[in-house]
C-alpha cells in the first residue's frame, strides 16, 4: 500500500490569508465550479431529461407542430413566471398573480363591451388596474412589514371574489360577452395573440413576447444597477438598505412588474378567445412560483434567474403536452409536478450550500 500522505505534494491550497505577507497565487475557479454555481443548471438538466423522455415515449412529440404546441403552453406560464422569479429574487411572493391575470382580462372585456369602446381603451385601462394591484401589494408589504405571503394571499381572495362577483353583477353570467366585433379588436389580436410564420414553424406570438421578456429580465438582473439592487434586497435587506439601496422602491417596482406581466397574459387570453371565464386563473399562482423555483430561485430570496424561470415553464409546458401526446391519463400531471418541485428544491438547497461554502 502506498502512503496516502505524499501523493499531493504541490496542490496544497494556500490558506485564505487576510494578513498573509505575500499575495497567494491568484487562480480562477474551475469552469465546472463556475457553471455549477449558476442558478439555472439544475433546471437545464431537468428540461433536457424531460424532453428526451417524451421524445422517446411519444412519437408525435417529435414533430415541429408539437414543439409549437408545448412552447405555447410554456409561454402562457413563462410570461408571468419571469416577473414572479424576479420578485422572488427580491425576497417576496405574489400569490395574487394568477387571478390578477383574469382581473386584467375581465376589466378590459367588460369595460369595452358595456361602453362600446375601442378595445385599446380597455387594454390601457386594464394595464393601469394591473399596475395598481401590483403597487398596492408592494406598498402594503413595505409599509406594514407583513409577509408578502399573507398580503398577497388576501389580494388573491379579494380579486377572486371580485372577478366572479362583478362579472355576475354586470353581465349576469360567469363569462364576459364576445368582444370580437368591437373596434380595434383585430389590431389588438395581432399584437397579443396572432400566429407568426417563421418558415419552418408557425409560432404563437406570445412565445416571441415570452422570449423578449426573459431577455429583458436577464438583462435587468445581470447588467443593470436595478438588478444589483434586486439581488441585494432579497439577499440581505438590512445591509442593502445600509449602503443606500432603495429597497422599498425596488420591491414595489417588482410587484408592479408582476402586475404588468399578468396584464400582458390577460390581454393574450382575451384576444385569443375573445371572451373570458371569470373563474379562471385560480391555482396558476403556484404554477408560476413552481416554475421560478424549479428554475433555481430560492424561496428565501437573493438567488435565481430569469432564464431559469423560462426553463421551469418549459418543463411545465412539455410535461402537460407530452402527457397528452403520449396518450396518458392527464390526472397524473399534478403528481409529476409535486415530485418535480421537491427535486428542484433539493437541488437548489445543494447548489446554495455549494455556492456559499468557503473555498
Amino acid at each position: 500500500m502506498s502512503s496516502p500522505v505524499a501523493t499531493q505534494p504541490s496542490s496544497q491550497p494556500s490558506p485564505p490569508g487576510a494578513g498573509a505577507p505575500a499575495a497567494p497565487a491568484r487562480q480562477q475557479r474551475s469552469l465546472v465550479s463556475r457553471v455549477l454555481a449558476r442558478p439555472e443548471v439544475g433546471a437545464l438538466a431537468a428540461a433536457i431529461a424531460v424532453f428526451l423522455f417524451f421524445y422517446a415515449a411519444a412519437p408525435t412529440f417529435r414533430s415541429l407542430p408539437a414543439a409549437s404546441t408545448y412552447l405555447y403552453a410554456s409561454a402562457t406560464i413563462g410570461i408571468v413566471a419571469v416577473g414572479v422569479a424576479l420578485l422572488m429574487i427580491g425576497g417576496e411572493f405574489d400569490l395574487s398573480a394568477g387571478v390578477a391575470v383574469t382581473t386584467a382580462a375581465l376589466t378590459a372585456a367588460m369595460l369595452c363591451y358595456q361602453l362600446s369602446l375601442n378595445v385599446w381603451v380597455g387594454v390601457v385601462v386594464s394595464l393601469v388596474v394591473a399596475l395598481a394591484i401590483g403597487f398596492l401589494n408592494g406598498w402594503l408589504v413595505v409599509r406594514t412589514g407583513i409577509p408578502s405571503f399573507l398580503v398577497t394571499l388576501s389580494t388573491f381572495f379579494v380579486l377572486q371574489g371580485l372577478n366572479l362577483g362583478v362579472t355576475r353583477l354586470i353581465t349576469g353570467a360567469v363569462a364576459t360577452p364576445n368582444i370580437n366585433q368591437l373596434d380595434g379588436f383585430d389590431s389588438a389580436r395581432a399584437v397579443f395573440a396572432s400566429d407568426v410564420n417563421l418558415g419552418l414553424i408557425t409560432l404563437n406570438i406570445t412565445i416571441l413576447w415570452w422570449a423578449l421578456f426573459v431577455a429583458v429580465g436577464t438583462w435587468v438582473l445581470l447588467r443593470t444597477r436595478v438588478g444589483n439592487w434586486i439581488f441585494a434586497s432579497g439577499g440581505n435587506e438590512a445591509s442593502a438598505r445600509a449602503v443606500g439601496v432603495p429597497v422599498r422602491k425596488v420591491k414595489i417596482g417588482l410587484f408592479m412588474a408582476v402586475g404588468f406581466l399578468a396584464w400582458f397574459l390577460g390581454m393574450h387570453l382575451l384576444m385569443n378567445f375573445s371572451t373570458v371565464q371569470a373563474g379562471i386563473g385560480v391555482g396558476n399562482e403556484f404554477v408560476y412560483i413552481i416554475a421560478a423555483v424549479v428554475g433555481g430561485a430560492l424561496l428565501t430570496g437573493g438567488y435565481g434567474s430569469a432564464v431559469g424561470s423560462a426553463l421551469g415553464a418549459l418543463i411545465f409546458g412539455m410535461t402537460t403536452q407530452g402527457i397528452v401526446f403520449a396518450g396518458w391519463d392527464p390526472n397524473w400531471f399534478r403528481t409529476f409536478l409535486g415530485v418535480m418541485l421537491l427535486l428542484a428544491v433539493l437541488v437548489n438547497l445543494y447548489v446554495k450550500n455549494y455556492a456559499a461554502r468557503r473555498k
Binding site: 454555481a37 439581488f231 445591509s239
Partner: protein, 271 residues
C-alpha cells in the same frame, strides 16, 4: 495599506477637527428610553470607542448617526451643521459610512457586486443603463489587492470569504467611496484572534489616514488598542467619558465588567 487608505480619504480632513458632534442626544421608542443625554464628539484622525453591554444603547446610537432611526431629543451636528437624518442615504451623503457586524455584505452576491453595491458604475445616466462590469471588477480587484485583502476570485460569492475578510471588504468599500466618518459596529465580535487583529489594523490605518472612526465594541482590550477616546454606556446613559490619557485598560475593563455593581455583587456572594 495605510497609504492606500490615505489616497482615497477625503482631502479636507484635518486631524483633531470635529466631524460629528452629539449634544444631549436621546431616543425614545414609545415609552422606552433607549438612549438619553449622550454627548459624543468624533474628531478627524481619532478613534472614538463606544463600549457597553448588551442593551446599553450602542445600537441605538449607531442607528441615529447612520440614519436608520432619527433621534428624538438633543442635537446632532455633522461638520458644524445641525442634521436630522431620516434615511441611511442622507447620512451616507454627508460622508458617514457604517459597517455593521453581521450586515456588512450580501453573502450570495459576488465580491465585486458587494464592493460597488449602492454606488454602481454605469455606462450612462438613464434608467436601465448597463453597468460597467469590467471596470468594477478591475477596481474592486486592485483596491482589495492594494489593501492586502487577497481573494481567490473577485467573482466568487462574498459568503465564501472568512468573516474577517468580509469585514475588511466592507471597510475598504466605505473608505474607497470617500467616507469621512467610519462607524464600525462590533467589527471584531464574531472573529478569532488573528482575524480581529486584521480588522484592528484596518481601523488604525483608517484613523491614520485622517478619518473619524466610531468603534463600537464590548471588548475593552480591542478598544484600548486603537482608541483615543472612550465612552461607556449603560442602560442608555453615559457612565464613563474619558480621553486615552485619563484612563487605563484596567479601569475600562473594571467599568465594563460592572464596576461598582460587580464589587457589591462579589461582596454579597463572598464565601
Amino acid at each position: 495599506m495605510t497609504d492606500t487608505i490615505a489616497e482615497h480619504a477625503a482631502r479636507d480632513l484635518h486631524k483633531g477637527e470635529p466631524l460629528v458632534e452629539m449634544d444631549g442626544v436621546g431616543k425614545a421608542y414609545g415609552a422606552i428610553r433607549a438612549l438619553e443625554d449622550v454627548n459624543l464628539t468624533v474628531n478627524a484622525g481619532e478613534v472614538t470607542c463606544v463600549l457597553g453591554d448588551n442593551g446599553a444603547g450602542k445600537s441605538t446610537l449607531i442607528k441615529i448617526i447612520s440614519g436608520l432611526h432619527p433621534h428624538s431629543e438633543g442635537t446632532l451636528r455633522v461638520d458644524g451643521k445641525e442634521r436630522h437624518f431620516s434615511s441611511p442615504r442622507e447620512s451616507l451623503d454627508t460622508g458617514i459610512a457604517t459597517v455593521y457586524q453581521d450586515l456588512a455584505v450580501v453573502g450570495l452576491m459576488e465580491v465585486w457586486r458587494n464592493f460597488f453595491l449602492g454606488s454602481e458604475i454605469r455606462k450612462g445616466n438613464y434608467p436601465l443603463a448597463p453597468l460597467d462590469i469590467k471596470a468594477m471588477r478591475e477596481i474592486a480587484d486592485t483596491e482589495l489587492q492594494k489593501m492586502g485583502i487577497h481573494v481567490k476570485d473577485i467573482n466568487q460569492p462574498i459568503g465564501t470569504l472568512s468573516g474577517g475578510q468580509r469585514q475588511c471588504v466592507a471597510i475598504a468599500r466605505a473608505v474607497y467611496f470617500g467616507a469621512r466618518v467610519l462607524i464600525l459596529d462590533e467589527p471584531t465580535a464574531a472573529l478569532g484572534v488573528k482575524q480581529s487583529g486584521v480588522v484592528l489594523k484596518y481601523t488604525a490605518a483608517a484613523r491614520d489616514a485622517g478619518l473619524g472612526v466610531v468603534f463600537i465594541t464590548h471588548n475593552p482590550h480591542h478598544a484600548y488598542m486603537v482608541g483615543d477616546h472612550f465612552v461607556i454606556l449603560k442602560l442608555g446613559r453615559r457612565v464613563l467619558d474619558k480621553k486615552r490619557s485619563e484612563v487605563t485598560l484596567e479601569e475600562l475593563t473594571a467599568e465594563m465588567a460592572g464596576g461598582q455593581e460587580l464589587a457589591e455583587l462579589s461582596h454579597e456572594l463572598k464565601r
